[in-house]
């Protein structure tokens, strides 16, 4: 599904990603762990198409196509979803209105008709139940005055609505208490299928108790320095990132 080869990216002349190699297949969950400043969020942003990063070398193949040639909106329309570490507030635009616009743009891209109000609302209802999100959030301005937990839950709800093929969760666990963490993880697990894949970017092992990865990669100084199975995360938790740094 996703093949990243020797990907290098920099911002304002400073190289952040220094040759990433990663292959993700349908149905897999990959966790990317690493200390602050190792390039985790940069990787997530580059995959989503943030333009302030300059790709200096390497390639990213997504579903057989050159991902880096696509605009951010086309990547989203082709099924890439980024759950933001810091979801952005858009005053005056309700989650409902925002998602309706998003879904219909994606449908248009696929040559489908816009969803009518009734089908849209019933889809909303179904997915709200799935990720245990409160109706009252839907009519409020997107992310405005949302608590940290509400924002993250809303990201997962959007993911449920847009049904992506590849989801990238960028530090989705940050700022969540244990109950919210469970709810969010539950949502992610319920959305899991054999066809879609998930990349979980996280600093802590904690999240991986709930979202169990097939593979764990440790990112340090712009490179994946170690890969393994879920046990690697536990080892990291025990020994700390210094263990990797020393290696």
């Amino acid at each position: 599904m996703l093949i990243i080869k020797d990907l290098k990216a920099s911002i304002e002349g400073k190289e952040i990603l220094k040759g990433i190699n990663l292959t993700v297949k349908p149905g897999e969950i990959h966790a990317i762990m690493g200390p602050n400043g190792s390039g985790k969020s940069t990787l997530a942003s580059v995959l989503a198409g943030r333009e302030e990063y300059e790709i200096t070398s390497g390639s990213v193949e997504y579903l057989g196509n050159d991902l880096l040639a696509l605009s951010p909106e086309d990547r989203a329309r082709e099924g890439i979803f980024l759950a933001f570490q810091y979801p952005v507030e858009i005053p005056g635009v309700s989650t409902t209105n925002f998602l309706k616009t998003a879904i219909n743009e994606i449908r248009k891209h696929k040559g489908q008709d816009a969803l009518d109000a009734v089908s849209f609302l019933s889809l909303m209802k179904e997915k709200m139940k799935l990720v245990e999100i409160d109706q009252s959030l839907m009519s409020r301005s997107l992310n405005e005055n949302f608590s940290g937990g509400e924002k993250k839950r809303n990201e997962i709800f959007q993911m449920a609505m847009l049904e992506p093929k590849l989801s990238i969760l960028d530090e989705t666990d940050s700022g969540l208490d244990i109950d919210a963490l469970k709810v969010v993880s539950n949502g992610v697990n319920k959305l899991k299928t054999k066809e879609n894949a998930t990349i979980v970017v996280t600093h802590y092992q904690r999240l991986l108790n709930y979202i169990v990865p097939d593979f764990v990669h440790v990112l340090y100084n712009g490179k994946i320095v170690k890969s393994g199975t879920k046990e690697l995360a536990l080892e990291l938790e025990e020994k700390g990132y210094d263990w990797i740094k020393a290696a």
């Binding site: 605009s71 952005v88 209105n97 998003a102």
Partner: protein, 481 residues
Amino acid sequence: MSKDNQILEEFTNSEYKYGFESKIESDSAPKGLNEDIVRFISNKKEEPEWLLEWRLKAYRHWLTMKEPEWANIKFPSIDYQDVIYYAAPKQKIKPNSLDEIDPELRNTFEKLGISLQEQKRLTGVAVDAVLDSVSVATTFKEKLGDLGIIFCSFSEAVHKHPELIKKYMGSVVPANDNYFAALNSAVFSDGSFCYIPKGVRCPMELSTYFRINAANTGQFERTLIVAEEGSYVSYLEGCTAPMRDENQLHAAVVELYAAKDAEIKYSTVQNWYPGNKQGKGGIYNFVTKRGICAGDHSKISWTQVETGSAITWKYPSCILKGNYSVGEFYSVAVTNNFQQADTGTKMIHIGKNTRSRIVSKGVSAGKSQNSYRGLVKVMKRAENARNFSQCDSLLMGDKCGAHTFPYIESDNKTAQIEHEATTSKIGEDQIFYCNQRGIDDENAIALIVNGYCKEVLSQLPMEFAVEAQKLLAITLEGSVG
């Protein structure tokens, strides 16, 4: 160039959608302004002597006045002798019914999405269509007439209801009020008149659609709305003009009169031709709008969506004379390219326990200048007057300007006046967030701007809120890439 700037560069590439010119023969006055022209107009409209005298008096006063210079707008001086003050579409016969209207005329309005055929028109909206200097048609007249509501062109009202015109015309905006109001009073051509009798709630939206078609022509319409005791009316005006290289002058006067317990809701969607991307052409829009809450517990609410015109100079105001009367002003002003807007309101608190609320949302893009100018004045005997003002500015790019000029004058210690102002920019983060959900830059900007203006747009009657949202999107179209 950063992505923000790129987006905003392209933002300025949108085209004006209403710029077509209709081939309609018109019957017009020679260029220029003098007493003979005033007489010519009055004569064309077969007006009574008293009205001619009223016009002449206004004209003579205008001659003694100077163009106001205090607004934050710049434009080459207007040659008032180079303007045609009267143009009327030639119609072979006076139409007795809507079916007899010249098809070309009817097409003009159909193209604008205004059907003059009642059965096709949105139910619940009556329309008065004004082309250049005359009213072309008014729909649903009979139906409204059954309730005692008068909705007709200003000229018709002069003939059929002279006592009402005499009583109210100039009572809120005197002929010598300001330079442009005086000019309008001298040469006004047509406009709409509404009268809602005591206790009647007008069952449909009343709407006037103004269109400037002829070249070199100024449009000077007057609108007068009188709401008698306990009545209610919601009124909407819309305006467009063809694309022309020269600037055209539009100086209108709107007067609202609300008696005890009456409520008038006045909405404007102003989309005059704004000029091209280089700032050539466009309408100079100098408008005086004022309402008086004459009776206790009366209410006047202005809502405006201003997207057009090269220059907008307009301050829809409320004189809160009745005790417990309420004035509201909700405004969205969008400027792009070289547009300039200096707009706001005046809330004059005279009666006791009067309240006013001002919500102004400015959006500036391109190289435009957008100013809010507002006055809240509390007179001596206005015990417990209250005002709340909120003025927000949204900037797109770094070549435009947003300015706020709030004036507060209070002569009563019990007054409570609150003013809040914010300035923000559309963030790259917001646009990227939308992109990441499959929404392209153009739609992202439309979504964000509509969200920002929501508080004002939600004041518009349903049918027009949708239209206004589309209009915002069109104004911002092509802004991205």
